[in-house]
Amino acid sequence: MVEVQHVTKRYGSLTAVDDISFRVERGEILGFLGPNGAGKTTTMRILTGFLPATEGQARIAGFDVFEQPMEAKRRTGYLPETPPLYPEMTVAEYLRFVARINGMPPGDRRTQVGVAMERTKISDMADRYCGKLSKGYRQRVGLAQAILHNPDVLILDEPTAGLDPRQIIETRRLIAELAGDHTVILSTHILPEVSQTCQRVVIINRGRVVAIDTPDNLTARLQGSQTLYLQIDAQGAEALATLEGVDGVASVTCVDEHDGIGGYEIESRQGDDVRRELSRTVVTSGWGLLELRPRQMSLEDIFLQLTTEEAPTEAVHPGMVTPGDEADVTVEDRVDE
């Protein structure tokens, strides 16, 4: 449904998007994940015909976005990063205007506007001026505008930005619902979002594709070494040293210390299962073993691993660094998995 082939976009000397290729099949939801400035918005703008690519080709439903822009645009619904609303129009007027410029016949407009408002839960805002809406509602009107003409392909740039938690859940549900007969590409910095809504993820960094896979595969593929979480009723340097001394343990990080209880993250060397050895050591040291479990590698970890040159196991503890917070992360060139 969507085909991107070797697309490059340069702004002067800056290469915002560098030789990106991917495909999205009909009915699929593709997540576009990357830190600030990765090139997500730029790629989406190329797909929607707002910007021409410097090199490469993009096709929507078989139509080249540059050669046959009208055909491609007719089949695309787009929610830009900032919802493109006219403050002087009411929500209903605005949606009717969008319906009209999308060539919808007059008879269909009113019903389609009603349906779109229903789906995005903005019916009670129909007569409000767009300029007076809260951020979350603006976002929803933007979404309503994108799905209004029932496009084959939906391109959503950070569709859940600015929404409250309940709305985020509802929007994700809506997107999942839409994916049945639409193809969806959405961008986000929020990792749980892709694992929850998307069938496939494209991770991009500095304009390059770092990985394309399903969220599950990405998680599985990167679990080369296993991380365990251990909680005992001991803490301090002595406990740390003892744990580090266990056979097969590569590194130990203290992640939690309170009331005499210590929580540790233990990385084992490749292939070694250190759980037996660990529990034995804990018991012989006279400590109480409170918890020992493998820690699932979250998409955040994957994200950091893929976008940083070396996974900094000590300095950066996932959960302390939010993705997209690139100041804390040394974002380096792509790491081949």
Partner: protein, 255 residues
């Protein structure tokens, strides 16, 4: 066509929702009224003077009143129309709504014509307001209608040129203020371009005179519709619209 109308309607709505349209109308009606009264006084004094010198004289309303009135109106328009067109593209670029227009199945031509038509409609309403004053003249006097019609045609053509330049400049910036002031500066330049005196040689003088945007208006207010002038304004309008198309395209390439 439906798309052009949809866009033009949207433009008009934006003008009428903001105080902009009303401010323009009010100010324009006020200034026009002022010049109307002022030129009427001049004419009255003149006819009194003639009356004093001898028998009653019929003063030509067209010559003494309507022509100066049109001349003054041209200058008011030169100052006011830049503010009518300033927001057209600049605001869409600033707020990001241009992204909606450019990713909808609309051609650049439709967008440009929609905006032009919207601004032209507003300008048409502005001119229509002044018909009230002219009506008064017909009520009390007996002006020739020929020069009035040609004068309005001239105003329409000249105003359209101002609008087309204003729209082109608006499409080059995100800042309404910059757009308005630059348009004013450009129009001013086109007004005073032939003021450089005769010292510069007669050929140059002819060329500069030809370029001067108000110079071409004078004949219209005298009741003469000359194709040279019509051609000048139509080319001016076409050039402005062409420039807008180029500017939209360039903006697209450069992001």
């Amino acid at each position: 066509m439906s798309n052009i109308l949809a866009l033009a309607q949207k433009e008009l709505r934006a003008y009428f929702v903001s105080p902009m349209a009303y401010a323009l109308f009010g100010f324009f009606a006020l200034l026009f009224g002022w010049f109307f009264v002022a030129s009427m006084n001049v004419m009255l004094q003149f006819s009194m003077g003639q009356f004093g010198q001898g028998g009653p004289q019929v003063v030509n309303i067209n010559e003494f009143m309507i022509r100066p009135l049109f001349g003054n109106t041209a200058v008011i328009l030169l100052m006011m129309l830049p503010f009518l067109t300033a927001r057209a593209y600049a605001e869409e670029k600033r707020s990001g709504t241009i992204e909606l227009l450019l990713t909808s199945p609309l051609s650049d031509f439709q967008i440009i014509m929609g905006k032009f038509l919207g601004a032209m409609t507003l300008y048409g309403i502005m001119l229509a307001i002044t018909l009230i004053h002219i009506g008064i003249l017909f009520w009390y006097g007996d002006p020739e209608w020929g020069p009035i019609v040609s004068g309005y045609l001239g105003l329409l053509l000249m105003g359209s040129s101002f609008i087309s330049v204003g729209l082109a400049i608006s499409s080059m910036t995100k800042n309404q203020m910059v757009a308005g002031l630059s348009t004013f500066a450009v129009l001013l330049l086109f007004w005073i371009i032939n003021w450089v005196g005769d010292a510069s040689g007669s050929t140059t003088q002819t060329v500069l005179s030809y370029l001067s945007i108000l110079e071409h208006f004078d004949d219209f207010s005298k009741g003469v519709i000359d194709t040279t002038h019509v051609t000048y304004y139509v080319s001016f309008i076409a050039f402005g619209l062409f420039l807008t198309a180029k500017s939209l395209d360039t903006a697209r390439w450069n992001g």
